[in-house]
Symmetry: C2
């Protein structure tokens, strides 16, 4: 066991990044513009500013500025839970008997339990700067809602969260964390919004859906004075904020002269993967270095591996702008797998374009194999991972075992986005041998892809 | 806001302590010896070795060796989740408007969610070294059981946990974390042991108790070939292992030339408080420095503040040795408050002796005020604290507000032992305004103190 590289690399505060990195600036072919769903023309700042904060709209539309200063108040907040450790998985390597060197960037050491806090504080900060009273959002599994609640509590900003009804009822702990941070949590669909009332009238027994919760949150933002809507993934602004993950990783690796051969991340909307790979992808785009990038998605929701690259709605309610992305169709209903954060029909436009250009690979994995990898990881590395993050673990282990076969001493880096402390129902199912896999049929995918809008 | 002291101080791996510190070695008047409950004579190594691992018995009885080497394999495990950060609570200070400087040593950044892992790995290691097949233990709230499960998974050691039945049923998530780490978790009382069957016969509807679970775990250890019993608090060996908390804190403070005036910790069995204060208390005992130490206990279970200093049973089942300590009587049934880790009738013998010598203070606080402090802390410092840890937060805030009145710039250090992610039922009660306080009457205490054994 090498003693040169510590188990965990923590940057000094003085070494922490002071700017976010915007990977779009280094892309020759940029992601396609967002379109107004009514006119099919590129959306304007003015249109977006009715829904989103002004400064965030600016960041969303800026595909030329490579570095953007992180405001001091956000840096202060980051210092409460960052830098996150870059961990050398010595114990996992030993257990696998692989010559590969495995590293993971662990984003779970904060109460939201995931990387979501990196963008939550940024979005809340710009809302506060704009003089707003509060923000609205939706949450499914609850990581994003929790992160936003924490950020809003810190900034004394009102936080209204529409939580998918089935999660609200089945994940009371997440709900209570949000309430402890002062958020107003409403099960969706609710009678608070016109869209919610309409859905309840049509489907009085519905469990709710992320698409419906988004529509309610957007309505709440646009009908209340002094509110805007915020979103935890997919958008380019979110990838920008999440670049702090990759920047810290790169600084830490450069410090110890570590060059990753393979960089792996789970991909739902793409915020974590995009954030982790951004600075490395920048080097690849500028021809300074080469890396293999692997996006890992659940077999039950395979946007990259079985979707199409086309304009689609970001939300089921079809109120948000159209985005060109790898998508299964906004009507796609993913099976109720346990990685709630990866159950999204679409994908970040930036990552979609990079994937389309062949700069990144993607694989899909089944959930029982993901939980087996999660358990193996937990037992030797000590951390109980989130189901989402475990998708990356599964593929990192696969790659490390491949190195064992070939004898190659590759360096593997993956993103460990969060902890699974609020996912124990899923682990219970796995421990009891009652977890099943689900892969959509070609017919099912064809049917939902047919729902794509004509552009 | 000073920029000299970082938000979080992480030691380099090379700076981490390589020895534990045994505060008993510097005490002129030592803690009283453990007694055999039958003979009332000091217990011998041989007697203890029937229940506990050999090396741990040696540590338990050693009150003269000040420093004990931490074995390399334990150091390796520590490196997976240690050093824990020493955090400067800049945001809390600002919110309170206090001139006091507040620091906390945060032990919650690991999957067990608390400091318990520090001793769990040590005890599991010595069991492995002795060639044992496994260990048995009891758990109430679940932190200790989780920590031990993690340590045993790492060392490939069988782990049998007797979990108080009411917790087993009400805290299914904790149970599943333990199962994910491969532990065998049994609701107590169970039909697996003679003592369990006897209790079930007498009280078929019992919810179980910590005392009963201890008795089952001890029976399981002594009736199975190759097993020993391990305990997560109270014992001197546990304080020894937990000294890593205080040692890291002291190294970090010395590095930045910080001198704490007041050191605060919650006290149930005393493992966290003892671990945190040990090296500082050592300086005080040797006359090298002075500090105010404050033990914080729940008003519902006030061992220090309303108990007596006497020999008592450590367990309700009365199978363990007698220990001289501050106690409410082993028959004391604490009210069902939400800080499960502090619901213990007795206290560490070492801390009891230090308190009796006037070297340490103690206060008791009511749980609604504790949760109010927890919420205030969470909203500005980002971390959702465990109910146990929040007792220390409450008193740290009280002391900081006292400084605000007097204008004194005191330096306050407290132990933040863990996170409250598995305590959201309690937070829900608090959020709903349904939490109540309970303080035992003098009559109740008198009655349970009468159950003390005659020595």
């Amino acid at each position: 066991m090498s003693t040169e590289i510590p188990y965990k690399i923590y940057l000094e505060e003085s070494e922490m990044p002071k700017q976010w990195y915007n990977v779009r600036a280094d892309m020759k072919k940029k992601p396609a513009p967002l379109l107004n769903p009514a006119t099919k023309q590129p959306v304007t700042s003015e249109e977006l500013e009715a829904v989103f904060c002004k400064e965030l709209v600016k960041q969303e539309l800026d595909d030329t500025t490579p570095y953007i200063d992180i405001p001091q108040e956000i840096l202060n907040f980051y210092r409460m839970y960052r830098p996150s450790p870059l961990v050398r998985a010595y114990c996992l390597e030993k257990k696998l008997g692989t010559p590969a060197k495995i590293y993971y960037k662990f984003e779970g050491n904060n109460t939201s339990g995931s990387h979501k806090l990196n963008s939550a504080i940024a979005q809340a900060y710009y809302a506060k700067q704009q003089g707003l009273k509060g923000v609205t959002t939706e949450t499914g599994a609850g990581q994003w809602g929790t992160a936003l609640s924490m950020a809003c509590a810190y900034l004394d900003l009102d936080c209204q969260v529409y939580m998918v009804k089935v999660s609200y009822e089945q994940k009371p702990f997440r709900r209570e964390v949000m309430r402890t941070y002062g958020a107003n949590v409403t099960p969706s669909p609710s009678t608070k919004t016109a869209v919610g009332r309409k859905i309840l009238e049509e489907f009085p027994n519905t469990n709710g859906s992320l698409g419906c919760a988004i529509s309610e949150a957007v309505e709440a933002a646009t009908t209340q004075e002094g509110y805007r809507y915020v979103l935890g993934s997919v958008l380019s602004q979110v990838l920008l904020h999440q670049s702090v993950i990759g920047l810290e990783t790169k600084i830490a690796m450069d410090k110890y002269d570590i060059h990753p051969d393979i960089i792996i991340g789970c991909a739902g909307g793409g915020s974590n993967l995009g954030g982790l790979i951004s600075p490395f992808m920048g080097e690849k785009l500028r021809g300074e270095a080469d890396y293999r990038f692997i996006a890992v998605e659940p077999a039950s929701c395979p946007s990259f591996t079985r979707g199409v690259y086309a304009y689609d709605f970001c939300d089921t309610g079809k109120v948000c702008p159209l985005q060109k992305m790898y998508t299964l169709g906004s009507g796609f209903m993913p099976a109720p797998n346990h990685a709630g954060g990866l159950r999204y029909h679409g994908m970040s436009a930036t990552l979609s374009e990079l994937y389309d250009q062949g700069l990144m690979e993607a694989v899909s994995v089944e959930q029982t194999s993901v939980f087996a990898a999660a358990e193996q990881f937990a037992r030797v590395e000590g951390i109980l991972p989130a189901p989402e993050s475990s998708h990356a673990i599964k593929v990192a282990i696969d790659e490390a075992l491949r190195c064992k076969e070939t004898g190659e001493e590759k360096t593997i880096l993956f993103g460990l986005t969060g902890t699974g402390y609020f996912d124990m129902y899923a682990y219970e199912k796995f421990n009891d041998g009652k977890m099943s896999d689900y892969i959509p049929t070609d017919e099912e995918l064809q049917k939902s892809i047919e729902t794509l809008p004509k552009v």
